[in-house]
Symmetry: D2
Subunit: 342 residues, 4 copies
């Protein structure tokens, strides 16, 4: 095996993160996320999102963040709207439903939601025989690698506010999304254009950890109770606090994401040059080139990646994911080997 | 502040654990706990519990372990029996109930459950108007620092098997319990005398992490689905795998617990010498001496600890917790300062 | 068998109720409780509770009413306070917990809750490690036959309002409670002194059905969605609407309860005359005389009733329940037979 | 208004049912469905389904039956497969999800499920990141009026058994389905070809009530506990027992359904003669003719019915539902008035 493009969590943590953990290791600190490191990290994130009143909470994983955030926003009869490709709808084992809530799924070709996709659903869900949609769930970057433009997010959030819906953004790969070439959004924009979202650490250089950011003041009270009840309140909250402290101490969080994007871009450019098409436009650190099945089989001898979906006669889309740790020579080797199969 | 005896998770991780994390940091590994480190750690734990067929799974925290393990064992109408002092009944914010199950609480003076405390409950819960008790939940060490003797655990597990009940053991502090002076139980005994339990890492030197051990083969299938659905399946499962690998590579896990016990013993012996009584017999790394409220106030100037419960005219029981990282000089300082107040 | 004093739902419905059902039987009506009969019944109940803004909803049974009302009032981390003898805590098979909420139980000798019983619980439940109590659940009459005086209910509701708690009243036997000799409460008082309660039909002459009354306007919106989601929205809502229309068309509801009380009073007076004591003061249509076990065995040859609890050497409390349909001669026969055993 | 074709629960109960309720009204009977009437009704249904070992339980409504039956068959991580038009997916307000389970929806043009529609779903749901499908939910008649042929049900059940899936059938309109002209299925066939189903009373002449039939012995134990926990155990179980006793005392249940079908057939034949098309083939007591919107508006002056879905330029499908109580003259009047608009 030369390299695995399976995902962006194949490696451990950026070395600076391990150093930060070691530096404070023997200091006694308050438990449950009320330690000095977590408080400093929260302050840095408040600054980064441009909202000193934002509530910031750290949890260990993305599915956990999603189920607890969504359940915290909902009354029993309320539901979540998501794209049919949404991670919560497909790949979280019914975690949201296990909290008692239905996901109302809306087809979307590029994995993104837009107001025009939601009108029909809202028009239908009028009485007590149907769930009452209350939260719109989006991922940025989406599950198929696409990203929202600022105008798109403004339109969607405007629509949500007009219809009494909350907008929640799964930011497992928000670093990659925000540092993409095509991006015109900042972290502060995200905060201003959602009610709640999370900044993914696991897929961008942390050992583990996600930072939930709650911008809507109505959703802030008692959030620690939700965290505790779902089993997400870590005794040593400092472990995640310290990591986000390092990631946001300077531009590290964005630099790591930029590197991942650059590697994905090299892959995409190279494959395009070789004449390959893509399932969705390559925009972030997940790209979906369409290759002949014979080439895929060859490449799988030396590289790890998922075959995503059949894409016509003898062709399939594959998913290649790069990370903060992907080395340029792995990318070049892949392109080299692909060239022979084009 | 001289030292905090608040709990056993005030410090970070034992240095060997940080080293282990660093050593494998840049290797690419499979996600979701199927990496080489996790597999090795599982094998070591299977060996330590004397059951090569035991299923071992890693999660990030104790409340999370409890809610997911208990829910995995229950049909909707089934309930959990616990002591009224049980952690799940008092200090987990209704996490078990949030999975849909009632806890039937039984008073117990020393925090331990015995067959004679359960007879009445079972006799009562006969028809469909009441829940059907299915799991007995115990903590070892208990929430008030007491530990089970082997004969006690045998009697309890025999009773459970006779009545079609599962026995689940919360091992957040199992290291301290097993290495206590009064202990005649081994980890293999625990495995043989329960259906499911977890080995606590967070409170015994890990950054975070608990190892769930499922001995009863009937409870093993599809457990990863439970883990995923509750949001407990970590993308970088290696982070916890590596830590347990280090803890069980040799006797480190038990040495850390022994140290904590030794520190608690010094505290207990010293306080006893000073003439103080205890709420429950000091057996593990949590002790509950009864002090005059005036002395407590004085000591709180320099030491961190919780006041547990009023214990007669002008007296209260306090909780002192020691850890793998507690230094002997902190213990001696506390005793010194207490001597002046006796 | 001469007569069964097991409960107040051994017979069918009062004949006037069957007549009312028959009278409108072939008329086509709107479904789901929006028919003319239900609307009229709602208006009559609004009048009876002295609140034209009260929301009134009909469901088929008491456990269903309790689980749906309580869940409708709670955020995920919130809990219900109930007496340890509370029906929801003991005899509803974990129905409330199945909606995700813990019941925090408080011991009470007479089955009633008072502010002084709640102080300690509230003082303890301060942080996110414990549930946040939000609803106080009481039964009127209680599960052991006792009733609240107006001053008691005022004190309790005042306490609730002061502490941000809702007060919910299970009125399965509210008819008997309100028409008891000792009662100084009216239905309008109940409405003014609770946030939500239900008026029991099943145990007071209806075929089946309970009328949920929501006085607190903050709890009224979207309640039909809760009803539907819990499976409680009947297609032929008219079936329950018609029954409550008849029960509240005049004083029928109260007359039926008064009859049950009169029969219980005759039983209690007769047994007192025979020298028997009671577990709790006989106030409503459930009484708990304490009899020798030998006498109980004899009486069970000819009468149906539950043995409630052991009450000293060779004695037990039994439960005798009378209903709208209990005939005086059954009462007299029981007393006659008991006399021989005194 | 001349007549409402909104649904089949607009009228009360068949007169024989009211008589049966009155006949036993003042007899004292055991509570919670263990009375003589319920036991007799259960025996009659066991006979009708050709399985003396079938478990039979009565509950008050269809959504309640669905949520409790489905939840009783599932482990937490398991899901239900349903057609996108399935009642539980669209019109039950998230009731199944509120018990913690996801519905995996499969598009189907005629509202029926077939093995070929399920292959892809099962192939996809292999690991712990997705739910594990466990129950296939079908309605007979379906939500768009279509019915299963015996060969279709055999194929589907065979597929389910081969893949470890349970088959559950919502029989809200099973009477109409089984007595349809096109039907080659008997009640005994349904019992033999499903694991659990319910026989709808509410939509076929009862005041209220559904009879759950559990054929698979593995699913029978402790079912009363599920019923109680969901709030579905009626104190006066006799109320539903008596009704099913009357419905199955002779052929009444089927005669009522046949009448409804005959009325629907007359409507369908008449509309066909007038040249109107249908959304789905008219087979049971729900038919979906496609009419000009102008005609629909006219007919709505005198008849009640739902407009179902737009069906091309200026045309819509409407839903007409007939019942045991629909009179032929209402049908003729509708056809008469439609003729003028054709």
């Amino acid at each position: 095996m030369k390299y695995q493009f399976f995902n962006d969590y194949s490696e451990g943590a950026h070395p600076r993160i391990l150093e930060r953990l070691a530096a404070s290791n023997l200091q006694q600190m308050t438990g449950y996320g009320e330690d000095a490191l977590s408080l400093q990290a929260q302050a840095l994130i408040q600054e980064a999102v441009g909202n000193s009143k934002a509530a910031v909470h750290f949890v260990s994983g993305g599915t956990h963040a999603n189920l607890l955030c969504l359940a915290s926003m909902l009354r029993p009869y309320e539901s979540v709207i998501a794209a049919t490709s949404g991670h919560i709808h497909v790949h979280e084992a019914g975690a949201v439903e296990a909290t008692g809530h239905k996901i109302e799924a809306v087809p979307s070709r590029d994995g993104k939601l837009r107001p025009e996709l939601l009108h029909g659903l809202l028009a239908l869900h009028q009485d007590e025989h149907m769930t009452k949609p209350k939260v719109v769930f989006i991922s940025h970057a989406s599950e198929v690698g696409t990203i929202y433009a600022k105008a798109e997010l403004e339109a969607l959030y405007g629509f949500c506010q007009q219809h009494g819906l909350y907008l929640y953004l799964d930011g497992a790969r928000i670093g990659s999304a925000l540092t993409a070439n095509a991006s015109d959004l900042s972290l502060a924009d995200i905060a201003a254009l959602t009610d709640m979202f999370y900044i993914g650490g696991t897929k961008n250089g942390a050992l583990l950890g996600e930072a939930i950011v709650i911008n809507n003041p109505a959703l802030q009270p008692e959030f620690r109770r939700h965290i505790k009840q779902r089993g997400a309140l870590l005794a040593k909250g400092r472990v995640i606090g310290a990591q986000f402290l390092e990631l946001f101490a300077d531009e590290l969080y964005f630099e790591l994401a930029q590197h991942a994007n650059r590697m994905a871009e090299q892959l995409a450019d190279g494959l395009q040059t070789l004449g390959f098409d893509f399932l969705t436009p390559p925009q972030s650190n997940q790209i979906f080139p369409i290759l002949p099945d014979t080439a895929i089989e060859q490449l799988q001898q030396e590289y790890g990646f998922y075959v995503w979906v059949a894409a016509g006669e003898g062709m399939s889309a594959i998913r290649l994911v790069t990370s903060w740790a992907t080395e340029e020579q792995a990318v070049q080797a892949f392109l080299e080997d692909a060239r022979g199969l084009a």
